[in-house]
Symmetry: C2
Subunit: 337 residues, 2 copies
């Protein structure tokens, strides 16, 4: 099979290789008519750009990286669908990198990415990420857009949901259901989303005059075993909580199982609300009250902003930031019977 090169396309169309290259790169220097001719022939001959060569030459890979902590959480799997919808439509490849909630891994991936694999990155930081230099360094060379879990620096587009307000709403929902001893469970001290949700939580506790000594934010940590023992300890205290707000989806199963083991009835003895996008929330026993985040929309917005910037290098990404609200879905786990 003959290899289809830019040179061959140029010969066939009686154009220079530079013109073909620019046309394929969608350069504004080339007329739409010429681009059309080039694209049609390229398609007809099944031309595939040599990613490495073209990236060295044009310094563009038509590829974006997505750094996320994990894919087991349905927030991220849904957000990926939003990202890929936009990327596919614009002819971009998406490379997905998992940090597994490790700062060191996040640093290594960003460092590797600086060597030409991608044109930019979308990221939701790991739960360990408490310093931002690696992202600032990356941002000096390639555009980066945050979604959901953001950093104060670098200055760029941040696609978030109304976490502070949702922390407040979740707490208020439990207070209205009669809870007096409410605990918020987190997995990290440094994550933006957790500190926002915590702030909303503390504001609601203060506004409604609950005893702050009985209402705290507890860090369960990342390890499954640690989470389980923290939960068992919490639920066997003398003044155990009568309301729990889980800030991470995966805590749901642990909470339900711990309650089952300890004979604690949800929602009678303990009301539970979870920041979660899992479809199975409605078929749990009891069905789970959730703060449902706009995962698909956040992914889509982040990808849209990054691709807009890649097309227009003068764009100020920070101006593209959006806050897309979440929704509280009240279900059986917070029912007042």
């Amino acid at each position: 099979m003959e290899t289809i090169t830019i040179k061959l396309l140029a010969e066939r169309l009686k154009l220079s290789t530079a013109t073909i290259s620019k046309a394929l790169g969608d350069s504004h220097e080339i007329s739409d008519m010429t681009k059309k001719r080039v694209f049609e022939l390229a398609k007809e001959l099944n031309y595939v750009p040599n990613a490495y060569a073209s990236s060295l030459r044009r310094n563009k890979s038509k590829t974006i990286a997505v750094l996320i902590p994990e894919v087991a959480d349905s927030f991220f799997s849904i957000a990926l669908n939003g990202i890929e919808e936009v990327a596919l439509q614009k002819g971009y490849h998406t490379l997905i990198y998992l940090t597994h909630e490790k700062l060191e891994r996040e640093k290594a991936i960003l460092k590797e990415l600086l060597y030409g694999r991608v044109d930019g990155a979308l990221m939701s930081v790991s739960s360990e990420t408490d310093s931002y230099e690696h992202i600032v360094e990356f941002g000096k060379k390639l555009p980066v857009v945050f979604f959901d879990r953001v950093c104060h620096e670098p200055r760029t587009a941040k696609m978030t949901t109304n976490d502070l307000e949702c922390g407040y709403l979740a707490t208020q929902h439990l207070i209205e259901a009669g809870c007096k001893r409410i605990v918020m469970l987190s997995i990290s001290k440094s994550l933006s989303i957790i500190s926002d949700r915590s702030e909303g939580f503390h504001n609601a506790i203060a506004d409604h005059g609950l005893d702050p000594a009985l209402c705290e934010v507890i860090n369960c940590g990342e390890e499954e075993e640690a989470t389980r023992s923290a939960l068992m300890e919490l639920l066997q205290r003398d003044q155990r909580p009568d309301g729990i707000i889980a800030t991470v989806e995966r805590l749901t199963t642990d909470i339900y199982l711990a309650c089952k083991d300890l004979g604690i009835s949800i929602p009678h003895d303990l009301k539970v609300i979870c920041f979660s996008n899992q479809a199975s929330a409605v078929i749990l026993n009891p069905s789970l009250t959730t703060i449902t985040q706009p995962a698909f929309e956040l992914g889509k917005a982040a990808a849209t902003a990054l691709l807009k910037r890649l097309k227009n290098p003068g764009l100020d990404l920070a101006e593209e930031s959006q806050v897309i609200p979440s929704v509280l879905n009240a279900r059986g786990s917070t029912a007042t019977e």
Copy 2:
């Protein structure tokens, strides 16, 4: 900051750049002692290889691709963890590509990958994949290893679970629980895993003398809406099934919700068993009987075989194939009360 190059490492260690390069590439031509010295200095100086340059030079990217249909299914999110555990340990990068169950997307990704991004690929084919030429073509240039959803061609390592046997066991489990009208729900006609599970299903129906006219395999298709209407139609038939085997995790929520809407009680009126790895199976209402697949182990085995081959190009990958058994976990959804 000074850029750390191979040349600089060579100067510091008083070795040739070729030696440094070979040492970093773990060549058998270089002694372990020299490799150790090179690695230690490289680490100390924070040397990062230029992926593009080194890939052009050595035709090795130290990167593997993983092609999977989606990440919303917990099988794939867990398998990814198995793959990344091995890759990280061996110093390989993992690029994750989602086919979104589309054959065209799968073809496009493999084609793109031939242009030098990766050293090999792990894949679980899309539900649309009914022709293999694109994989055979890829396999001629780069090694590919299948896991879970495999193809007859090309000849290579296939990491699978005992799908045929599990199809049989699931069916037998429902028959022993008293079911006479059992339906298996699938999402594809071409997937290896589905045809194996179907064969086990039909064998069990025949062995136990159930009426095959009342026991069929139904393809619900890929679209959510189509799945829901197929389910509603099925559950409103005159002789509606008294047992369902769902071959895909995401069908669980649809089945439970359809039963709720139609006032069908699980397990009293209908027993349900699902091929699923979701942690929440135990907290559903009722808890879900599952065939739990060795997702982590399959991912790990696939990555191990591919990296073994990359180290030893003479390796016959087909010899590395493994079948790792799944486990039936009986729970509330198939209880006989």
